[in-house]
């Protein structure tokens, strides 16, 4: 009876040799796969589907995560906060390069960080379920990126007088629209699943120029 797998009988369903993994490795493996599968099916993905995708049994998940929700939290951490680069703010503020070039540099790196199937889809799934995570992320973006870009824009325009509240609001709104347009490229590709141009570099340059052309005042002689 026991040890059926080692006997030569060919009808055994699968070799099915148990893979004992070190706890740490298994935990990371689970998170990795959860990122992929949650991105596809959302948090409605069942623990059985996840286990099946890992070729392990479903109760094993509960050895490493006390609940499905706690696993989801780990997925958040892996996807969003591990890809954030604090140096973005410094790049944008470094006036040794032209502002246009700084913007392109930042956006090239930023899009490389977030324009992935898992990032875009899980960000939306998270927001629809509970926006707390998105608010945290966007607060970070506002603080490290938006405020710097707005300051540099005013510097480029030789604006001496500090802008009033309404002016700041309008500038921030334009910036929101501009910045979100890159995230939205991911929405088009991985949510709507529409074809996208592949030359991202060119698109970034084009949008930066359209943005600056609309928001930069040429020096009036």
């Amino acid at each position: 009876m026991s040890g059926a797998q080692r006997t030569g009988r060919g009808t055994v369903k699968s070799p099915q040799r148990r893979q004992h993994l070190a706890g740490q490795d298994r935990q990371e493996q689970i998170i990795d796969r959860a990122v992929e599968l949650f991105a596809q099916k959302g948090f409605a993905l069942t623990t059985r589907e996840l286990a099946s995708g890992l070729q392990i049994t479903q109760p094993l998940l509960y050895r490493y995560f006390p609940s499905k929700q706690m696993l989801i939290e780990k997925v958040y951490e892996r996807v969003f906060f591990s890809r954030w680069r604090p140096e973005w703010a410094q790049w944008l503020a470094d006036r040794r390069q032209p502002f246009r070039q700084r913007l392109i540099h930042y956006l090239t790196d930023y899009t490389q960080a977030i324009l992935h199937n898992e990032w875009v889809r899980i960000f939306l799934y998270a927001g629809l379920q509970d926006p707390a995570l998105n608010q945290r992320y966007l607060a970070m973006l506002h603080k490290d990126v938006f405020s710097v870009i707005n300051a540099e824009l005013r510097h480029e325009n030789h604006a001496d007088a500090p802008p009033d509240a309404r002016q700041i609001m309008l500038e921030t709104e334009i910036l929101w629209g501009f910045h979100a347009s890159f995230f939205y490229m991911g929405v088009r590709k991985w949510v709507y699943q529409l074809p996208m141009p592949d030359d991202l570099e060119a698109l970034i340059a084009e949008r930066v120029d359209a943005f600056l052309g609309g928001v930069l005042h040429p020096a009036r002689p």
Copy 2:
């Protein structure tokens, strides 16, 4: 035993007088409420929750809809296609008014149609589950709106030569970013649940000017 509700016994749980509604009315009532509740909880909303929100019993839903999925289809119809205005294309092409004004007119009406909690959230829920609906909607948008705006832009720029494929692609990309920025206002408000400026009119005008400033070439003397 029978007729317990009419006897004077005060311990009866609720008056619970059966509300007989005409079939047509009940069906519409169900769809209306389903729109609200699906927008909040997504399609994971259970038929029991929906029934509870309507103060009816759960099996009654199946008198009016053969399955939950068919009800979802009706919700799509109600939310998206009933709010589409075919006249948008005509407005945009009507050269008796300045292009800037046409754009503002269109966007004011368009945002009034789509900037609602249910529209934005259900559009995203739908896309994440199956993008077929979104593709249909966006194909409509592309055909009726994008192509007209692009044509008018070329007309404004006095572009005689027909643009090459790459030029069309770049223009369309800029337009995507511009147009999506209005939908994204709804995402900020009802998905991320961030505070939004209330003066939509001003925001539209500001964005239109930023867009045209970046994309319109001043006549070179």
